[in-house]
């Protein structure tokens, strides 16, 4: 059984997620929500004090992987195969960014994910994402 809330201290404390400061927020049967706290080192340029696009991509990639494990109800090694992010607008100045990804379909070897990033209002997203992940080794549970 994979519990994203319980696994987050382990998954998000080190490496790239730890450097970004990613934090668990919420989850449902097939979705996971993470937060990316604003800090100066994550700024994209000197003019606007907003989080760069790179960290948002990273957060959505991570939330997508966790959504796959949440839906499969177990940890399975996955690798992102293809991921697209459309940046609809810059995040607010000094705003934390929230990323919510849903795994809407799994097959024997692939998992399909979509998600959004926002800075407070999910109906006014900062970015949307679509991605395909491949499972490595064991297949996720299919329904």
């Amino acid at each position: 059984m994979f519990d994203p809330a319980a696994a987050s201290p382990f998954l998000l404390s080190g490496g790239h997620p730890g450097w970004l400061g990613l934090a668990y927020r919420d989850h449902g049967p097939d979705w996971v929500e993470l937060a990316l706290p604003w800090r100066e080192e994550l700024m994209g340029d000197d003019v606007r004090r907003v989080i760069a696009s790179g960290p948002i991509f990273s957060m959505l990639d991570m939330a997508g992987g966790m959504a796959i494990w949440t839906r499969a109800q177990r940890f399975v090694p996955v690798a992102t195969l293809d991921m697209r992010v459309d940046y609809q607008r810059p995040a607010g100045e000094r705003a934390d960014v929230i990323g919510r990804c849903e795994c809407y379909r799994t097959t024997r070897s692939a998992a399909f994910v979509r998600g959004i990033a926002h800075d407070g209002d999910p109906d006014d997203p900062v970015a949307t994402m679509a991605a395909v992940y491949m499972t490595i080794g064991g297949a996720p549970k299919n329904d």
Binding site: G14, H16, D45, M62
Partner: protein, 138 residues
């Protein structure tokens, strides 16, 4: 082009992630990030987000160089990025270089490849559309 004449190629984010300009090929910057903990995903490997961040930074850097050569100043904003992860990148230096496929008035289209020891076998590739907001005086 002298070092002084080069535009600033790295954002706060890029610098704090440890991205460096490792060199230039025909005035196109080649960027590099070493295998530090800040890039690690699965143990011993790059996180896809770090790979993607390096490629995005390479795209912006190539555009800043190209605009600077034309004597133009502009703000760059991402429209979208699509990344193909071709092979796991090991926790070792990862390089990225962009190719500007279109540099228009309002937007640019850029492709990027990231590689490690063998340039012929890229670890990831990306295509990116970037909004170009030129200064009013331009």
């Amino acid at each position: 082009m002298t070092e002084e004449a080069r535009p600033d190629l790295l954002s706060h984010y890029a610098r704090s992630l440890g991205i460096e300009v490792s060199g230039f090929e025909d005035n196109v910057p080649v960027l590099c990030v070493s295998g530090i903990d800040a890039i690690e995903g699965r143990p011993g490997h790059f996180h896809g987000g770090a790979t993607s961040g390096l490629m995005e930074t390479a795209a912006y850097a190539a555009l800043r160089m190209a605009l600077s050569e034309r004597g133009e100043e502009a703000q760059l904003k991402p429209i979208n990025i699509t990344v193909q992860f071709l092979a796991a990148a090991k926790k070792a230096p990862l390089f990225a270089k962009a190719r500007i496929t279109k540099l228009g008035r309002r937007s640019a289209n850029v492709t990027v490849e990231a590689w490690q020891e063998d340039r012929e076998r890229p670890r990831a590739s990306a295509v990116m559309n970037v909004m170009i907001q030129r200064d009013a005086r331009a």
